[in-house]
Symmetry: C2
DNA sequence: ACCATGATTCGATAGTGGTCGAATGCCTGG
DNA sequence: CCAGGCATTCGACCACTATCGAATCATGGT
């Protein structure tokens, strides 16, 4: 199906309805979590790290921000279920939980046959 | 390639680097636009409309919000390049610009082979 | 020319969120 | 058990934004 006219964010899972208020609320909550450059960089830093995990000290040193601020952003990401923290001795290591992000595009774009592939 | 271990948001377009500060800033700007339930519903309402366009009066009547508030959200969407408005007589019709949303998933997920397909 | 209606703009207000400094928790090493 | 460092929590401050009412602009009909 190469040319469907309406590629964009139009439907709840199977149907052709627009988003309900509650669906929109949940989606917006995810986007709100991602709507901060520091959090995006934190996520990508963790994900691009060798073992898929990074300790807070490494993450902090990548920004010109205080510890509490980094901690705040990590907390937001953690409470959104996007990352997971584990203490090992002195340090705390974070790793990305792939599932919620992986299902995001599916929620967003229902049928974008042309432009997405790249 | 069925099982790559790190499916998520890790890389700038071709490389293995984490997001740069400016890349993260641009991405965050898009997410911020989408991080509101009203705007998400507006987008989906427009996209799911018969001709791919909807007039403000129809959109307004779908919410329990005042005219100025809807106008504000439409303006945010318009300035983000996600929709486009055109006046025809008394009414103003909005339609979705598919491109920016279509390229979003590609920016977000670099390789999420398993979970995305659905 | 005027009025009615659709939509935006303006100004003000309340709520939210990012940031910091200080204080607290938690673990390791002496 | 105490000292030191990593990380979080707490409290406060500032900026931004969602929302509204009132005013303004634009169009079409009378």
């Amino acid at each position: 199906m190469p040319n469907q006219p309406l590629p964009v964010l139009c439907c709840s899972p199977g149907t052709g309805h627009p988003l309900s208020a509650t669906e929109a609320g949940e989606l917006a909550r995810v986007f709100k979590t991602l709507a901060d450059p520091v959090r995006l960089r934190l996520l990508s830093l963790i994900a691009s790290h060798a073992d898929g995990e990074a300790c807070v000290c490494e993450l902090s040193s990548a920004f010109e921000l205080t510890g509490p601020t980094i901690s705040h952003h990590l907390r937001v990401l953690r409470e959104a279920g996007l990352i997971d923290g584990e203490r090992r001795g002195t340090w705390i290591y974070y790793r990305v939980r792939p599932e919620p992000l992986a299902q995001l595009p599916a929620m967003l774009v229902r049928a974008a046959p042309t432009a997405v592939s790249a």
